[in-house]
């Protein structure tokens, strides 16, 4: 989780990612930052996020992003 929070803070500094639960809804993460995030996650966790994974539910909070990463690590 710490590694993910590091990545998120690099992409959007100044956001309380530990507690924020509306990252997409509040447009803290827009499509451009999601692409940067995906690129960073693929590298850091050696996973392959697919286009079909790019749904708001997967990116609303640090917890939901972590759940996506863990699911893809298991596959």
């Amino acid at each position: 989780m710490d590694e993910l929070l590091e990545i998120l803070k690099k992409i959007k500094p100044g956001v309380d990612f530990e507690h924020e639960t509306g990252l997409v809804e509040k447009r803290i993460l827009d499509s451009m930052s999601i692409i940067r995030l995906v690129s960073a996650l693929n590298n850091a966790f050696d996973i392959e996020i697919q286009v079909t994974d790019l749904v708001p539910e997967n990116f609303e909070s640090a917890a939901s992003i972590m759940a996506l990463v863990e699911r893809l690590e298991d596959e």
Binding site: K10, S39, N42, T52
Partner: protein, 535 residues
């Protein structure tokens, strides 16, 4: 069939009666027959192209679904015998086959769009190359009957096929239902560009008549007609007059012309959406929304999330994400990491697909260099603001600007509207055969102040005093539109309207109908056609 014509109004109300009188299970069939009638009215031949497109979509989605089902069944049957790697290989092979089917089907649909919408543009470019070598040009004077709504239904068809490919949607087994999805008449000429799962859910369920749907839908439709016929059509002759002969007018008149163009564009396009969304509400069908008070946006990227929403959403899902996530884009980002650093490489991975998306948006709007440049102009502003966002952040801190302060928000809205107006008016004047940059230059350098009202609002040739009267009505409409936009922030205007006593509501609606009908004379001015229908 023009949707501002009396014949259209008769058509939709007759359809409404049949739709609710027949058994519910036939409601989608009624919509299909109505959509086919709508097409045939616009020219019999164009329905053939829609049928071919629907047949292609039907076949492709079936092949995609069968391939996916077969793979699933095979893996399930041989679960015990197959290793993890073997399962992966089977899935990969199936994916390759499905990708081939999808690619061929998309190319087939795009070929139609290319021939009908872009052949003149491509031949023009080819002739330009030929002229360099002093060779005779190819004939480009032929005319093609462009199938009604091809720009819209092609995108919907591609979206549906991609959804089946990704497993987001199930292939529809009934060809006629696919045909209805592609050709549903309320959205065929100007969108919204609906996703299959959303629209099919609405189209194929059974619908119950309710007074609430009927009255609220009618109110929205009436507001749409008002926006189109009282505001947009009254501004249209003035805007055409100024943007065509801008070199005769003062700078202030050019600015007024540009502002009117923006109001006309919004009233025209969103008016159409209100008419169709309102009508569909009367049918108990919810169409996707295409506007959310776009001129109150604080940045250009926000504006594009609130203007033609379904086009933006379509491009994000089916163009931006697939390109951004593609192996070559990710590899490029990786290669840039070492020389440029992590921040810049991440930005590059997000920016290159955006440039392509904006090229598509520009080219989709019009087969001209003016609109391709317009697309890149939008991209330039959006990318620059994204790349410079850390600098803006530091500037705001240094200047002690509070993000939520009303003056700052107002400044952001005005700035965004100004940029959007600049991009739009340049493209619009270029397409009319003028020079958009000269127009803008004149607007800001010709400081001659208009001495009379006539100089500020020059009468359009052939309209006389009637023009000023229509303009006054349009001003009243613009005022209403502004107030409604402010009210809409909290909840729909209709929620407030329906609290008024019934008698007063009826009087207001009757007066609105009378104003709309009396404004119908504008059709003789050459107005009446919808601006976005040309795209």
């Amino acid at each position: 069939m023009s949707i501002t014509a009396l014949s259209f109004v008769v058509f939709i109300f007759a359809l409404l009666a049949i739709y609710y009188l027949l058994p519910k299970k036939f409601q989608w069939v009624v919509l299909l027959v109505a959509s086919i009638c709508f097409y045939i009215y616009g020219g019999f031949t164009t329905i053939i192209y829609v049928l071919i497109s629907a047949a292609c979509v039907f076949a492709a989605t079936h092949l995609l679904q069968n391939q996916a089902n077969k793979t699933k069944a095979f893996i399930k049957e041989h679960k015990a015998e197959l290793t993890r790697e073997e399962k992966k290989a089977v899935k990969q092979k199936s994916k390759q086959r499905r990708r081939l089917i999808l690619t061929l089907a998309i190319l087939f649909n795009l070929a139609f769009l290319g021939v009908f919408k872009y052949s003149h543009f491509f031949i023009d470019q080819f002739n330009a190359v030929l002229s360099i070598f002093h060779l005779a040009p190819v004939d480009n004077t032929f005319s093609l009957i462009v199938p009604l709504g091809i720009s819209y239904y092609t995108l919907m068809a591609i979206g549906y096929m991609a959804d089946v490919y990704w497993g987001k949607a199930q292939a529809q087994k009934n060809f006629l239902k696919v045909l209805l999805f592609i050709s549903f008449f309320p959205q065929i000429t100007q969108g919204p560009i609906s996703e299959y799962n959303q629209l099919s859910g609405e189209l194929f369920k059974e619908h119950q008549f309710t007074y609430d749907n009927f009255s609220r839908g009618f109110q929205r439709m009436l507001w749409g007609f008002f926006k189109k016929m009282v505001i947009a059509d009254a501004l249209a002759p003035y805007v055409t007059w100024i943007t065509t002969y801008y070199d005769k007018f003062t700078g202030i008149t050019c600015i007024v012309g540009a502002l009117f163009y923006m109001f006309q564009l919004y009233a025209d396009f969103s008016g159409y959406m209100d008419i169709m969304c309102g009508y569909c509400e009367m049918l108990d069908i919810r169409l996707a929304e295409n506007f959310n008070r776009p001129y109150f946006s604080k940045s250009l990227s926000e504006l594009w999330r609130r203007w033609h929403i379904t086009l933006g959403a379509w491009l994000r899902t089916y163009v931006y994400y697939p390109i951004a996530m593609s192996k070559w884009n990710q590899t490029l980002s990786q290669k840039c990491k070492k020389p440029l650093g992590e921040y810049a490489s991440g930005k590059i991975a997000a920016t290159i697909p955006l440039l392509f998306v904006w090229f598509v948006i520009g080219f989709w709007h019009d087969a001209s260099w003016a609109y391709i440049l317009w697309g890149f102009g939008n991209a330039f502003v959006i990318i620059l603001s994204e790349w410079l966002s850390p600098v803006y952040g530091r500037m705001k801190t240094a200047l002690k600007i509070r993000e939520n302060a009303l003056p700052y928000r107002a400044f952001q809205c005005i700035r965004t509207f100004g940029i959007f107006t600049f991009l739009e008016i340049v493209a619009a004047v270029q397409v009319l055969g003028g020079n958009g940059y000269q127009y803008v230059w004149r607007a800001f350098t010709n400081h001659t102040l208009p001495r009379t009202l006539e100089e500020l609002f020059p009468s359009v040739e052939g309209l006389g005093g009637q023009f000023l009267l229509m303009l006054l009505l349009a001003f009243f409409g613009l005022g209403l539109m502004f107030v409604f936009s402010l009210v809409q922030r909290k909840k729909p205007v209709r929620d407030y309207f329906n609290k008024i006593p019934l008698f007063l509501r009826i009087v207001i609606m009757v007066v609105t109908v009378l104003i709309i009908v009396s404004s119908g004379v504008q059709a003789s001015w050459g107005a009446g056609a919808f601006m976005y229908a040309n795209f």
